[in-house]
Symmetry: C2
Subunit: 149 residues, 2 copies
DNA sequence: TAAGATTGATTCGTCAATCTTT
DNA sequence: AAAGATTGACGAATCAATCTTA
């Protein structure tokens, strides 16, 4: 407060970058008529169907929260519950055709939005940034959020 | 899908880094008995009191959302509404003493959590990462989220 | 017109308790 | 008993639309 300001530190820019990513999610998902939480949820299902417990681990939410989000997405025709052949207690949640359309479109548009955030960087700078950020995410066991494949 | 996997791209690691930052907010704010949204809200008020419209712009939320969050924080004794001397319609929202304690504590702990995300990087790497991320945030008019002073 | 506040509806998220299957 | 999942109750977040007042 008596100190001169100086440039914002790493923590601050990390928080602000997260804010930009969140805003991208919010804006794009709204265009698809779903909430950011639903978009995040559908994104996790893109590679393959998941059990509820698996979704709990990946999304970091309470069990009942996941159940509620599955219910909502199912009501909207975006996901389907299937019985797990191996365990009759378990359920596997997978995208419907409509759900895949929304998930893929949302994924593509969100990716584009986020790519544009670094539009002013050179290819080398982007590679450096990606490598350093990857170190951060690798060191902190991020679950398979935003899976590419 | 026929392609070999390769390392995750910049977009993916940005999303995952945002996920880590969000998780830090969620965990820390819970320790202080408030929601992540309230923590974000209080953080914005740390440097100075703000009008409702200003909060709408900074937080990117609807007016009624901000009013509701002010109401809740006020009920919890964390903020206070004051009359704007310049505009008799306007209200200025500022932290109470209790609110400042919570906001500062939350800020400190969240900062510490986020600092630790890059614990494995060298000082040079952190500086490089901060500089590149700062380019990203500067180019995308992030509002004064997580102000340091 | 602009700043706030309010209302009503939906979703998000948690916890505690319950049910079924293993 | 333990695991997977759901239900019910509740607080909080969010928006659109409306209302009040300056």
């Amino acid at each position: 407060v008596g100190k001169s300001e100086g440039p914002p530190g790493l923590t601050t820019v990390l928080v602000r970058a997260a804010f930009l990513v969140n805003a991208a999610y919010t804006d794009v998902s709204r265009q698809y008529g779903i909430s950011p939480a639903q978009a995040q949820f559908l994104a996790v299902l893109r590679p393959r169907a998941r059990g509820t417990s698996e979704l709990v681990a990946v999304l970091g939410l309470a069990k009942s929260t996941v159940t509620g989000m599955v219910n909502l997405a199912e009501r909207n025709g975006l996901v389907r519950r299937e019985a797990d052949p191996a365990d009759s207690r378990a359920v596997r949640v997978g995208l419907t055709a409509a759900g895949r359309t929304v998930a893929d479109g949302c994924f593509t548009d969100t990716s584009r939005r986020i790519e544009q955030l670094s539009a002013s960087l050179t290819a080398d700078e982007r590679a450096t940034l990606a490598a350093l950020l990857r170190r951060v995410t690798d060191d902190n066991q991020v679950s398979a959020i935003f899976p590419e494949a």
